[in-house]
């Protein structure tokens, strides 16, 4: 996940820290979502937040996605892929 642009990761970290009562800065790309008690139900909530924050629409089923996305870095990469796939990529993400 070394190719994840720092901005997405930084913004995601800030959102997760805010919503899950975490100290800012404790999250790394390798932090596993399950260590944050993020199950498929909480994943639905995160996707909602991420959709608003990054101006994207997440098509995936949360349970499916939760199986694929294991770490914070995975999630950031997934967000980037959706942002890049948008028409006029990235313009709403700022």
């Amino acid at each position: 996940m070394d190719d994840v642009p720092p901005t997405t990761l930084t913004r995601l970290n800030a959102l997760l820290a805010r919503d899950f009562d975490l100290e800012p800065g404790v999250l790394t790309p390798q932090t596993r979502l399950e260590d944050l008690d993020i199950d498929s139900l909480r994943m639905i909530e995160i996707l909602f937040t991420v959709e608003d924050a990054f101006g994207i629409s997440v098509p995936a089923d949360a349970t499916e996605l939760r199986a694929k996305v294991q770490t914070v870095g995975d999630l950031a990469a997934y967000i980037d892929s959706l942002v890049a796939a948008q028409p006029g990529a990235g313009t709403k993400a700022g």
Partner: protein
């Protein structure tokens, strides 16, 4: 049949949080009815209600709060207090034989109201992802079971204003029959959002704000009564197989002695003397008691034109000559009408009154309706009263009448 002990009480109410604070306010005749200050409340003809002062962040983390409607926050808080008082009740308990029985009329109405505001007022499609989980009527009961790992029956009753009296009665029956050993039972309601209040206003059952003193707007049994005042909160009791409670040396607050249930089946809102009387008779029969043994009645006493005269007539019918000697107060005059939580809160008030030997008053009763000619403990609490048993009445829209009787533990 097994006997059922009340070993814990928890309260979140407009008269204070915690059973002790609640009863102190009742004793002082304090009212929790205030002018509502929400952003849309000014659009109500009479923006009044009995609100709970509740610091949600002091009880729950932010991630928890995103899953909990106000109604579940109240329910969890009251249940925790009840369990704390019933210290040790969970030790050695077979949790599959422990149930949760909750009454609520409107469930997560605040979430529903917010969702509609998002959709229709803000014209946004971004409804909160957990709206269903917050709003579903069984959320309060489910969260209590999750929090305390109680895996027996988990039931939610919605019979409008008698919901939580039904919940307590049904829980007690399951303990009596030996199906379960312990239950958390009660009710929760959080109906003071704009949409819910508007719907009640449209039904023309809400009280007008008192011109001189908003807190005195609910006037049960008074000639000037103009309707009910909605309130919010929760009350939970721990019910336990009495033998088990004794064996573990628990302090028994009261015996849950009687439960009467029937339905008017005559009109969707209009109360019936026959129906109310029948529920009281059934409660007395299930407690194997005579009416004359009841030392205090916590009235349904909504302060509506329809209820108070009918309830008075029903009590006279059941109690006969004992009616005039039996004090009956409406604590709704102070804490408002908590709808689905009313029965549980008033059952709690009845048990606390019996234990203290202090009868909470019907405040604002200065000009009694000639039709209402019983002893309603007007204006001020009465202390030094020996109460061996107390009856709590709950009569609902839809016609479900539920009456509970608590007896001093023997």
């Amino acid at each position: 049949m097994k006997r059922v002990a009340v070993t814990g009480i928890g309260v979140v109410s407009p008269l204070g949080n915690g059973a002790r604070a609640f009863f102190a306010s009742l004793e002082a005749g304090r009212s929790g009815i205030v002018r509502l200050q929400g952003k849309s409340h000014a659009r109500l003809a009479d923006p009044i209600g009995a609100t709970v002062a509740f610091d949600a962040a002091a009880h729950f983390s932010a991630p928890q709060l995103r899953m909990l409607d106000r109604v579940s926050q109240f329910a969890l808080t009251a249940a925790a207090e009840a369990l704390q008082e019933a210290a040790g009740v969970l030790e050695g308990l077979d949790r599959a034989r422990a149930g949760v029985f909750v009454g609520t009329g409107m469930g997560g109405a605040e979430t529903t109201d917010e969702g509609y505001e998002t959709l229709y007022a803000e014209r946004s499609d971004r409804v909160k992802p957990f709206s269903v989980l917050l709003a579903m009527n069984n959320a309060p009961a489910a969260w209590i079971a999750l929090e305390h790992r109680l895996s027996g029956p988990n039931l939610t009753y919605s019979t409008a204003c008698s919901s939580s009296a039904v919940a307590i009665g049904e829980a007690a029956r399951r303990i009596e029959s030996g199906e379960i050993d312990m239950a958390i039972a009660g009710g929760a309601e959080a109906p003071l959002n704009f949409g819910t209040l508007k719907a009640w206003e449209a039904l023309r059952t809400l009280a007008s704000a008192d011109a001189d003193d908003v807190s005195a707007s609910c006037k049960p049994f008074d000639r000037r009564r103009s309707g009910l005042v909605l309130g919010e909160g929760a009350a939970m009791v721990v019910l336990e197989d009495s033998e088990r409670a004794r064996a573990r040396g628990a302090a028994i607050l009261a015996e849950m002695a009687g439960y009467g249930l029937c339905t008017d089946a005559t009109h969707i809102t209009r109360p019936s003397v026959a129906g109310q009387a029948e529920a009281m008779r059934r409660a007395l029969a299930s407690a194997a008691m005579d009416a004359a043994e009841i030392g205090y009645i916590n009235a349904h006493g909504t302060g509506t034109q329809a209820n108070d005269g009918v309830e008075t007539a029903a009590v006279k019918k059941v109690f006969g000559p004992a009616a005039v000697r039996t004090p009956m107060s409406s604590t709704k005059s102070m804490h408002g009408h908590l709808l689905g939580a009313a029965g549980a809160l008033e059952f709690a008030a009845s048990v606390l009154a019996m234990r203290a030997g202090v009868l909470p008053p019907t405040v604002n009763l200065r000009d009694p309706d000639p039709e209402c000619d019983l002893d309603y403990v007007p204006l001020a609490a009465r202390s030094g009263v020996d109460v061996g048993a107390a009856m709590s009445n709950s009569f609902a829209f839809g016609g479900t009448n539920a009456v509970l009787i608590a007896r001093r533990a023997r």
